[in-house]
Subunit: 107 residues, 6 copies
Amino acid sequence: MKYDVFYGKGMGKVKKEYPEIYEVIKNLNEVVYTGKVLDYKTQKLIAIGITAGHCDETATEKQMRSAMKELKVTPEEIADVLRVVLLLSGQPAFTKGMRILDELTKK
Amino acid sequence: MKYDVFYGKGMGKVKKEYPEIYEVIKNLNEVVYTGKVLDYKTQKLIAIGITAGHCDETATEKQMRSAMKELKVTPEEIADVLRVVLLLSGQPAFTKGMRILDELTKK
Amino acid sequence: MKYDVFYGKGMGKVKKEYPEIYEVIKNLNEVVYTGKVLDYKTQKLIAIGITAGHCDETATEKQMRSAMKELKVTPEEIADVLRVVLLLSGQPAFTKGMRILDELTKK
Amino acid sequence: MKYDVFYGKGMGKVKKEYPEIYEVIKNLNEVVYTGKVLDYKTQKLIAIGITAGHCDETATEKQMRSAMKELKVTPEEIADVLRVVLLLSGQPAFTKGMRILDELTKK
Amino acid sequence: MKYDVFYGKGMGKVKKEYPEIYEVIKNLNEVVYTGKVLDYKTQKLIAIGITAGHCDETATEKQMRSAMKELKVTPEEIADVLRVVLLLSGQPAFTKGMRILDELTKK
Amino acid sequence: MKYDVFYGKGMGKVKKEYPEIYEVIKNLNEVVYTGKVLDYKTQKLIAIGITAGHCDETATEKQMRSAMKELKVTPEEIADVLRVVLLLSGQPAFTKGMRILDELTKK
């Protein structure tokens, strides 16, 4: 379930042609998202913050989508993440995040 | 209390010489860290993730320090944030974050 | 007039659903673009430089468009900004900026 | 031949309207890609690594395309570059690179 | 005079050991800082904005120092540049810029 | 031998306190640096390019140091990597890389 986010065009190719990379990425995701104290949902909110702070549209969209689908993260929770992005990464990163959220919630 | 993180050499100058900038940054921090649904602590963990993901040492150190002091965030919680940084921003960003955490917890 | 640049899909959602964020962003823009000594136009040229230096296509396009429309900034002035981007951020950032400028001036 | 990568919409405009910038970029490319000890192909692999590590889709796609066309760089070689990107820039940068490679090799 | 900013430890080595790189960088600086319409000072302000927006301390410090020394750029002008950085790159980049400015003006 | 680069203050803490993260990073390094076609040395040169292109001083210094020590990479080879950094990431990233190289070769 936790690996949902890395399925996609890029990772499909990896699974088929580079199984050893696929395997280590799967293990990496497992270790990363099995925090000692923070739950998976909090870690996913952090993941949204990091990708939105990087201004990486594709990754932000994937993180938001998987957070909403897998973990029932609400648009309000994502907006609260984007507040922090506004402060730490500036208005363009924030606006981009809001536009992606807007598009996802309209679907 | 929430503004602790922006005290420092840079902001001292701003408060004295550019009070209108200081004022808007104070308001911005207030609005950002008053989420509708996420609590302040979760937002601070997100802030640590974003600054560590940016490889910004000074800002990461400030965020970690203020999170531990103000909100009793534990080293284990920060390590769980850094797991996500490892996945999304790579090993150098992760190692840097771990070194800062190490230095802060030794003091 | 100065707020033109933050209208758009992302900010429309913010205005309606998160008026307190909208308000603080409006104030922030007001304070930022009311420099003590530099005029608004110089600050807009700087804004183009920063967004183009970040390789952020959407934000660069918005900044260029609003600078040309609001302040009659010319393509030559923008090209002079992009020269600095070439030196400080490298050729890909420069080429991207030039392509955006090209598309905007053809319309 | 080495300048192939900077032809495109952005550079076409530069050549016509800013010949002095075009000239210096041509010289810059010449000096950069005439290493003392590393051959051109190794430098192109490094270029793919840097642009993919920056998460810059357009530039990554250009670098991969020109490397494959000019220098017969193979998809396996590019995948070995992307391994390093995975380690140093994280999974989103890696996945993006793999998707671009996938699209290029399907054409 | 325009090349002041690239003297330093790194460039000293380049001049001695890699004269062909030194030459092309000198030409690049000449072309970049000879804008068609913008004057050198405006371009230097843009350069400060870009380096401060990148959170690159060493480069920001060099740009500010050379702008103040060569072109009599005032601290107030630099603060007006940093306002734009606050909006477009976030508070950590702004605070870092202000701290550097503070240290430079105290000397 | 390939893991040399991740020893250090940050990773020492990880090995002791977060052995499961240490384990996955070790595997990740193994998979990353065991390319199908490129040799380890070429991949290390790419790693230097990526970290120098990110302007990450600590990571760049580590990569250069381990490349010179483990693999007898020469300063000339590193300079050829930095040429590509100059083109793709701009002069500040290049100068920083050259300064680090200068310091390492003087020791």
